[in-house]
Symmetry: C2
Subunit: 435 residues, 2 copies
Amino acid sequence: MAAPRAIGIGLLGLGVVGSGVARILTERADTYAARVGRALEIRRVLVRDPRKPRPVELPPGMLGTDPEAVLGDPAIALVIEVMGGEQPAYEYLCRALERGKYVVTANKEVMAKHGPELYELAARRGVDILFEASVGGGIPLIAPLQRDLLANEITSMRAIINGTTNYILTRMARDGTDYRAALRQAQQLGYAEPDPTNDVEGMDAAYKLAVLASLGFRMTVRPGDVYREGITRLHPREFRYAAELGYALKLLAIATRDDHRVLARVHPALIPAEEPLAKVDGVNNAVEVVGDLLGRAMFQGQGAGSMPTTSAVVADVIDAAFRIAHGGEGRPAWRADPDAQVCPMSELQTRYYLRLTVPDRAGVLARVTRVLGEQYQISIASIIQKEADETARTAEIVIMTHLASEGAAQAAVKSLEKLDVVRAVGALIRVEGQA
Amino acid sequence: MAAPRAIGIGLLGLGVVGSGVARILTERADTYAARVGRALEIRRVLVRDPRKPRPVELPPGMLGTDPEAVLGDPAIALVIEVMGGEQPAYEYLCRALERGKYVVTANKEVMAKHGPELYELAARRGVDILFEASVGGGIPLIAPLQRDLLANEITSMRAIINGTTNYILTRMARDGTDYRAALRQAQQLGYAEPDPTNDVEGMDAAYKLAVLASLGFRMTVRPGDVYREGITRLHPREFRYAAELGYALKLLAIATRDDHRVLARVHPALIPAEEPLAKVDGVNNAVEVVGDLLGRAMFQGQGAGSMPTTSAVVADVIDAAFRIAHGGEGRPAWRADPDAQVCPMSELQTRYYLRLTVPDRAGVLARVTRVLGEQYQISIASIIQKEADETARTAEIVIMTHLASEGAAQAAVKSLEKLDVVRAVGALIRVEGQA
């Protein structure tokens, strides 16, 4: 009996992840062929420069610069996209799906900006797009959302989903260093890019949150729908005060659904120190999902790196190849909830940590609490007077509020800044404990 | 156009979990029908006593005591087993699979004792057996092992997989109470059974570990292959000393593979306090998996309870029903690694915590270290002399060893117990830090 025909694979991109994927698919060809029931064969690889030396050996002639050589090859049933960036990756993915090829992608930007269009295009063409590697490296997140949590209505997702910023914040918390110093350390270790903007301003986390929220809430959440605040203005003393109050300070990506109203946001937040998320340190990632049946579950691991990402890409490849070999649709299709809508950040209700620098004299607290309480109906859970600066004759006060609306909190900060008894509003940080 | 025919479901058992499953399948019928593409219809429920009042309302006549009414109904394509216990559950599952029905089970005992036979029977009949709920309640574990980690060779699984014992140990660590008092608290809160043997002696954890190891390592690991030590003899001072040394004390279920040699064990262990597993407290469960590509990932959540278990059962039901509706084999079949074998516990290499009560006088340490070092080649990492008992003129010493073999450690304990300078060996606990 002739061996069944191999499943042809096209690879778009041969950088760090692409080389890892090509190497593992080659080295473990026999194992994966046994798991799928047919061999997996890389036929074509799209690169920018075919002569560039690569950490993986592929037969000469397999590499080329013409996308059509991959996308137009009828023997290629499965396209793996590991180029990154919105364009031309998005265009190539559309062309692959249009031609009835399965697609596996690690591209968070494309999935965040165009995920729902790609799901629908894949469904129309009777194929699928798999993107486990786009969020959280090798941590299984996408497939569990698509399968294991299907019995649930998901009500909340809270994530530490950017390793660079979590490393920086962990350093600041442990060493008491300032943002600049911690960033430099992260850069020296290769955890932060020379230009760290995408990470430290929360763009990377916002992309990933858009992917998770679109999938988990069955709606279209674009990166622009995600409220975003980075970590660059966090002062070292916030970590000290947070710890004294029993909190950790993390960059959280949070998406919550209340009935059909969804709020998605990325910002620094205080979390009670005993919560599992508060204990996720260094470059680790973690995603906590709350489902109405499941309760709270957390997925944790290395959110980046060539081999963890390869693990996710190849799992998707095996899944897609298995369906190509054996038929079947795989899993329930994504279908948008027509009633779901994204809310503006001003509707957020949460608790706040507020740090003020004030003159070290009597009567100041009364003025401040009157603005919060009478003018904005923000009720105060606790006030702590921190150290005074003898020379400047100022003191620092840290206020923890009860639940308040974001709109009121922002307006209150503006009013406080105008008070003659407030020298500066040092920080306004949301407090995100388990409900 | 006529609506597509409903998928008939038979339910074996209508206890706490069965009632939850029946209620959720009924209440969310429209949602799940949309996800599957066909309605899901419970047709028959096997119970012991049809007249017993239930927390869920089902049409009269649906409940019955004859298993054949469920297993022999050709309109039932999917059988959900939530009876628990080995027999007659195992027999019913075999009969359902033989007749070409998909099976969803929450039964850890059956899966631990007969999993590989059931996988093979299902494959032979062209159907599948799904058992996400058998381990870790609603936490996605089984499906990620079957899908998301398929690119990896899994080398290690370490789990806190019994909520009862983790609750008891958490209480002992936090409150300094002894085992009896912590067990009573757990019983009062409903976290421990009146007869807690299955939990506190590690049987429940051993079942679950057998399921995980068989699946993750692709081999047959039976509950009897799992080395097992319970928590009933742990002394409160171990928690104090462990904390002082920077460790947490947990009941771990550990399965490791080195080449084709697998070791599976359930016993109390010290874990470095900064590891994620050390921070899993109370009734929570967590499973940490190490894959050669993935690195380390951890899954955490509520390991028991009616609704979390229902979440897992219904996810499996939706998955199976989707395949019944749309065809497709779902995922690569489990296939045994013919070379894999279970090793005896004596081959374990790990580090040990050893607590001895000795006379409070000179020369004792020298005698003890000579036995360990010269007689058994166990080298010592640190020795701490803990408090002395003035009246009894004894002192306690805590020894942390370097890597040693289990065989040597057990033999050394026997030799130490015979020394006239050793009043008692208070504890020998394995130390399980990340390699």
